[in-house]
C-alpha cells in the first residue's frame, strides 16, 4: 500500500504545487482578446507553437498564428508590420535595427551542427573537413571513412539565420557548392536528411533527435551543454523581434516566453533558456 501511496501523494503534491504556478503565468492572458501573428526563424517554431497552444487553450479569445520562412522573413515581415513578432536565429544587423526600429528579445541559446543520416558510419569530422564537404571539395563519403557513395549536400536558402551562423562560424564565410539542394526550414532539413543515407546538412541542435545524427566536430559532441559551456563553437541566440516597444498582448507573450513557463517549453524542445 505504501508503495502506491507514496508516489501518488508525491505526484499529487507536485501537480498541486505546479498548477498554481502555471496558471499564474497564463493568468496574464485570461479573458484577453486579439491576435498575435508570428513569423520568421524556423528553429523557434516548436517553442512558439507550444506556447501558442497553451495560451489559446487558456483564453479562447486570443488567436496566435505561427509561420516560418527563416530569419530574413522574420526581419522583413516585422519590419514591414505584416506580423507582430518576427523571429530570428541570429542577432540583427545594425542596418536592420536602424532601418525598421526593431527591438530584440533573446530567449534561448542554440548551437548549429552538421548532421547526417543515423546509419551513416561517419561519427567524427574536423572543421576543415566540414568546410571542404560544403565547398564541394570532398565529394565521396569514402574519403571520410564512410561508404563509397557520393555525398548529397543540403543547404538552406539565404533567408535562413541558421545558414548565416553556420556559414560565418563553421564555414568561415567559405563557398557553399552551387549544386547543393536547398530546403526551406530546420524541420524540412531534418526530414530530408532522415530520408537520405548519403546526405549532409546542418540544423539547429534543438532539432536533433533519433532520426538524424550529428558527428562530433574536432572531437566535441555538438550538444547544447557543450554549446553553453563554449566548447562547441557554432552557436547563436534565438530572438523575438518587435517593431518598437511591444505593447498589450504582444508584450505579455514575450514575457511569457522569457518567463519560467517559456523556459520550460524552451528546454523541453532542446534549447537552453537564456535565464
Amino acid at each position: 500500500m505504501r508503495k502506491i501511496l507514496l508516489p501518488t501523494l508525491l505526484s499529487l503534491s507536485m501537480i498541486l504545487a505546479a498548477a498554481p504556478a502555471q496558471a499564474g503565468e497564463l493568468d496574464a492572458f485570461a479573458g484577453k482578446t486579439g491576435k498575435i501573428d508570428i513569423a520568421g526563424g524556423t528553429a523557434h517554431i516548436p517553442v512558439m507553437k507550444e506556447a501558442a497552444k497553451r495560451i489559446m487553450q487558456m483564453s479562447p479569445g486570443l488567436r496566435i498564428t505561427v509561420a516560418g520562412g527563416g530569419s530574413g522573413v522574420g526581419v522583413q515581415k516585422v519590419g514591414e508590420g505584416l506580423v507582430d513578432i518576427g523571429n530570428t536565429g541570429r542577432a540583427l544587423s545594425e542596418a536592420e535595427v536602424s532601418k525598421y526600429g526593431l527591438k530584440s528579445y533573446a530567449f534561448a541559446i542554440d548551437g548549429v551542427a552538421a548532421v547526417v543520416h543515423p546509419k551513416n558510419p561517419v561519427n567524427a569530422l574536423t572543421h576543415q573537413q566540414v568546410q571542404d564537404i560544403f565547398a564541394g571539395k570532398i565529394t565521396n563519403w569514402k574519403a571520410l571513412g564512410g561508404r563509397d557513395e557520393t555525398i548529397h549536400l543540403y543547404t538552406r536558402d539565404e533567408a535562413s539565420g541558421t545558414r548565416e551562423v553556420f556559414w560565418e562560424i563553421m564555414l568561415k564565410k567559405g563557398q557553399i557548392a552551387a549544386g547543393a539542394n536547398v530546403v526551406a526550414s530546420n524541420g524540412a532539413m531534418k526530414s530530408a536528411l532522415a530520408g537520405d543515407m548519403d546526405g549532409i546538412g546542418y540544423v539547429s541542435i534543438g532539432h536533433i533527435d533519433q532520426t538524424i545524427k550529428a558527428p562530433a566536430l574536432d572531437g566535441v559532441a555538438p550538444t547544447q551543454d557543450n554549446a553553453k559551456s563554449g566548447k562547441y563553437p557554432v552557436l547563436r541566440k534565438l530572438y523575438m523581434n518587435t517593431k518598437g516597444e511591444p505593447v498589450g498582448i504582444v508584450s505579455d507573450f514575450i514575457r511569457y516566453i522569457q518567463g519560467p513557463d517559456g523556459a520550460a517549453i524552451t528546454a523541453s524542445d532542446g534549447y537552453i533558456p537564456t535565464k
Binding site: 491576435k35 501573428d37 513569423a39 516548436p46 507553437k49 501558442a52 497552444k53 489559446m56 487553450q57 479562447p60 488567436r63 498564428t65 505561427v66 509561420a67 516560418g68 520562412g69 527563416g70 530574413g72 522573413v73 526581419v75 522583413q76 515581415k77 519590419g79 514591414e80 508590420g81 505584416l82 557513395e149 557520393t150 548529397h152 549536400l153 543540403y154 536558402d157 539565404e158 533567408a159 556559414w167 552551387a178 549544386g179 547543393a180 539542394n181 536547398v182 530546403v183 526551406a184 526550414s185 524541420g187 524540412a188 531534418k190 526530414s191 530530408a192 530520408g195 537520405d196 548519403d198 546526405g199
Partner: protein
C-alpha cells in the same frame, strides 16, 4: 455569334423591356470592363515594379540580374540559372508528356482494344482533377526514394520533377488531341471503311495528319502549364540555383525561386530581381499565348487532306511506331498514375477518422462551440471552404457576366480587346498572382491603408483573379455553342437581346455554365502557390475574420510534406491529401455529369451530337 446581333428589339417590345435591356447591357459591359481593368491592373503593376530596372540609365542593375550567379550574400543576383531551369524543366516535361499523350489518345481512339477506350479517358479526366500538391506529396515519398536508391543521387532532381510534371500536363495534351480527333474522324469513317482501311490505318495515315494544329496546340498548352507550375519544382527539383549538368542534378525554376525568395527585404536588390523573374515568366506565357494565336489564325491549313501516297516501307514503319507508342503509353501512364494514387490511398486511408480532423478535441465541441483544434485538419478544411466561398463570390458574378457579354454583346474591337485580355490573364502563372497580391499589400501599407495585411480576403481576391479567365471562357463557349436558330427564333418573336439571353440562351446553356463554375471552384480549392504568398499559415486555428491569416488544405499538405517532425504529422499530410483529392474529384465529377447531361439533352432537343467544349478543363 455575330449574325444574331442585328435585332435590337424595336418590334413591338415595351419601353420598360427596352430600358431594362439597356441597363443590363450596361451592367454586362461594366463586368467586362472590370475584367479588363483587372488584367491591366496586374500587368501594369508588374511593369511598374520592373520599370526601375529599365529606367536605370547605366543598365547596371538589369545587367547584374541577367547573369549566372545567385549569391545574395556577396551581392550577386543573377537569375539566368533559374530562367534556364524553367525552360529545361518545362521542355523536358513536355518531351515526356507529348509523345505519351499522343500515344494514349491514339490508343483510346482505336489503336488499342475498344474496351480500353472508356476507362483510359476516364483516367485522364480523373488526372485533371488531381491537385498539384497531391502529386508532389506522393512523389516526394515514392519517386524520390526510387531515384535515390536506383540512380545514386539525392533524389531531388530535374529528373524527378520532370517525370511528375509530365503526369501533370499529360491530361491537357490528351484532351486537346481527343477533341481534335473527335472533330476529324466522323468525316473519314465512311470513306476509310469503303477503301477497306482498318481503324488503326485510318487513325495513323488519315486522321492524325489532319490534326496538325491540335498537335501543336497541345504542345504549346502543355508547355505553358509546365513552365507556370510552382509546387512540383519547389517540392521535387532540389532548388539549387545552378544550371544542372544532367538530369540527376538539382535545379531551380523561376516559379520556385519567387516562392523561396519573396519574403526578403522589400527595398533590396533581391526583391527587385523577383519582378525581373516575374517579367521573364510572363514573357514565357506571353510567347505561349502568341503561339496559340498564330495557330488560330492559320486556320485553313489543318483541314486539308494529306496529299501523296507514302511508300510501303515508310507506311509500315509509321504504323509500327504508332503501335509501339500507343502500347507504351497505355501501359506507362496508367501505371504511373495508379502507383502515385495507390500509394496515396495506401498511406491516407488508414488515417481517416475523427482524430484526423479534430485531433484531441471532441468533434461536437469543435463544430458547434468553435473549440480550438490542434493537430487536426478541421481548421484547414474550414479555411479552404471560406477561401473558396469568398473567391467564388468575387469571381463567379464577374466571370459569368463577362462571359455573357463576350459571347452575346461584345462586338468588334471591344470584343477582341476583352478576349485577348482573358487569354493574357489565363496565361498568368499562379505564383505571379501571389506575387501581385503580396506586392499590392506592401504598396497599400505604405500609401492608402497602413493596416492592410496579408489575409484571407487577399488570398481570395488573388484566387478570384486566377479563376476569372476559366469562368469567362467556359460561359462564353457554352453560349456560343448554342445553335444560331435559337437566337433567330427569339428575335423573330420580338424578344429583346437581353430577353433572348435570359429566357432562352442562358436556360439552355445553364448546365454547361454551372459545370464551368464548378471547375473554377475546384481550381480555387487546389491552388497552393497563390495563397502561399498572400496569407496562409500553419496553426492559425479556424478562420475568424476576412482580415485574419488562415489555414488551408493544400498549404498544410505542402508544409507537412517537408516539415513533418513525427510519423503522426506525416499521416496528417496523407490524410489531408486524400481529403483534398476527394473534394476536387467530386467537384470534377459533378461538373462532368452536368456537361454530359447538357450535351445529351441538346442532342435530343436539337439533334446536334457534337460535344460542346472539349478541353476547357485544361
Amino acid at each position: 455569334m455575330p449574325g444574331a446581333r442585328q435585332n435590337s428589339g424595336n418590334s413591338g417590345t415595351g419601353r420598360g423591356a427596352r430600358s431594362g435591356d439597356r441597363l443590363v447591357t450596361a451592367l454586362l459591359f461594366g463586368a467586362s470592363a472590370m475584367s479588363v481593368l483587372c488584367v491591366v491592373g496586374i500587368l501594369g503593376f508588374l511593369a511598374w515594379f520592373c520599370l526601375p530596372l529599365l529606367a536605370d540609365p547605366s543598365g547596371g542593375q538589369l545587367a547584374s540580374f541577367l547573369s549566372w550567379q545567385w549569391r545574395p550574400t556577396s551581392g550577386q543576383f543573377g537569375i539566368l540559372p533559374m530562367a534556364v531551369g524553367s525552360l529545361l524543366l518545362g521542355s523536358s516535361a513536355l518531351l515526356l508528356a507529348w509523345p505519351l499523350g499522343l500515344g494514349l489518345t491514339l490508343f483510346a481512339h482505336g489503336l488499342g482494344p475498344a474496351w480500353t477506350s472508356r476507362p483510359l479517358m476516364a483516367l485522364v479526366r480523373l488526372m485533371t482533377s488531381v491537385p498539384t500538391v497531391v502529386y508532389g506529396l506522393a512523389s516526394v515519398f515514392l519517386l524520390i526514394p526510387l531515384v535515390r536508391s536506383g540512380l545514386s543521387s539525392s533524389g531531388f532532381s530535374w529528373l524527378a520533377a520532370a517525370l511528375t510534371l509530365a503526369l501533370l500536363v499529360l491530361p491537357t495534351i490528351v484532351l486537346v488531341l481527343d477533341g481534335q480527333l473527335r472533330l476529324v474522324t466522323p468525316g473519314l469513317r465512311l470513306t476509310t471503311a469503303a477503301i477497306g482501311l482498318t481503324r488503326a490505318q485510318e487513325l495513323v495515315h488519315l486522321a492524325l495528319p489532319m490534326c496538325g494544329r491540335g498537335l501543336k496546340t497541345a504542345a504549346i498548352l502543355g508547355f505553358g502549364r509546365a513552365v507556370g507550375d510552382t509546387l512540383l519544382p519547389l517540392m521535387l527539383s532540389g532548388n539549387a540555383a545552378q544550371v544542372p549538368g544532367g538530369p540527376l542534378d538539382s535545379l531551380r525554376t523561376l516559379t520556385a525561386h519567387i516562392a523561396l525568395v519573396v519574403a526578403t527585404d522589400s527595398q533590396s536588390a533581391a526583391y527587385t530581381s523577383l519582378f525581373a523573374c516575374g517579367a521573364l515568366l510572363f514573357g514565357m506565357s506571353l510567347a505561349v499565348n502568341l503561339g496559340l494565336r498564330r495557330l488560330g489564325s492559320s486556320n485553313g491549313a489543318s483541314s486539308r487532306m494529306p496529299g501523296g501516297c507514302p511508300g510501303r516501307t515508310r507506311e509500315l514503319a509509321t504504323a509500327l511506331l504508332a503501335q509501339i507508342l500507343g502500347w507504351t503509353s497505355a501501359c506507362v501512364v496508367p501505371a504511373g498514375v495508379c502507383a502515385l494514387l495507390g500509394y496515396l490511398l495506401w498511406r491516407g486511408l488508414p488515417t481517416l477518422g475523427a482524430a484526423l480532423f479534430f485531433g484531441d478535441t471532441p468533434p461536437f465541441d469543435a463544430i458547434l462551440r468553435d473549440a480550438p483544434v490542434f493537430d487536426g485538419l478541421w481548421p484547414a478544411c474550414l479555411g479552404t471552404l471560406y477561401l473558396v466561398l469568398v473567391a467564388s463570390a468575387l469571381a463567379i458574378p464577374l466571370g459569368v457576366a463577362s462571359g455573357i457579354h463576350l459571347a452575346e454583346f461584345a462586338t468588334g474591337r471591344a470584343g477582341r480587346l476583352l478576349s485577348s485580355c482573358v487569354d493574357l490573364l489565363a496565361g498568368v502563372p499562379s505564383i505571379l498572382m501571389g506575387l501581385f497580391g503580396f506586392a499590392l499589400i506592401l504598396l497599400l501599407r505604405r500609401t492608402l491603408w497602413p493596416q492592410a495585411n496579408t489575409c484571407l480576403l487577399l488570398s481570395a481576391l488573388c484566387l478570384a483573379l486566377l479563376v476569372l479567365p476559366y469562368l469567362i471562357s467556359a460561359t462564353r463557349t457554352c453560349l456560343e455553342a448554342l445553335p444560331q436558330e435559337l437566337r433567330l427564333t427569339a428575335a423573330s418573336l420580338g424578344l429583346t437581346r437581353w430577353q433572348t439571353v435570359s429566357r432562352v440562351l442562358l436556360p439552355a446553356a445553364s448546365r454547361g455554365v454551372l459545370g464551368g463554375v464548378i471547375l473554377a471552384v475546384g481550381r480555387a480549392a487546389e491552388d497552393t502557390a497563390v495563397i502561399m504568398l498572400t496569407g496562409v499559415v500553419v496553426g492559425a486555428g479556424t478562420p475568424g475574420a476576412l482580415t485574419d491569416k488562415f489555414e488551408a488544405l493544400p498549404f498544410t499538405i505542402y508544409f507537412l510534406a517537408a516539415e513533418h517532425q513525427t510519423p503522426q504529422e506525416l499521416d496528417l499530410a496523407f490524410g489531408a491529401a486524400l481529403t483534398l483529392l476527394c473534394l476536387t474529384a467530386a467537384l470534377f465529377a459533378i461538373a462532368r455529369s452536368l456537361r454530359n447531361s447538357l450535351s445529351n439533352g441538346k442532342a435530343r432537343r436539337w439533334g446536334a451530337g457534337t460535344s460542346v467544349h472539349q478541353g476547357t478543363a485544361a
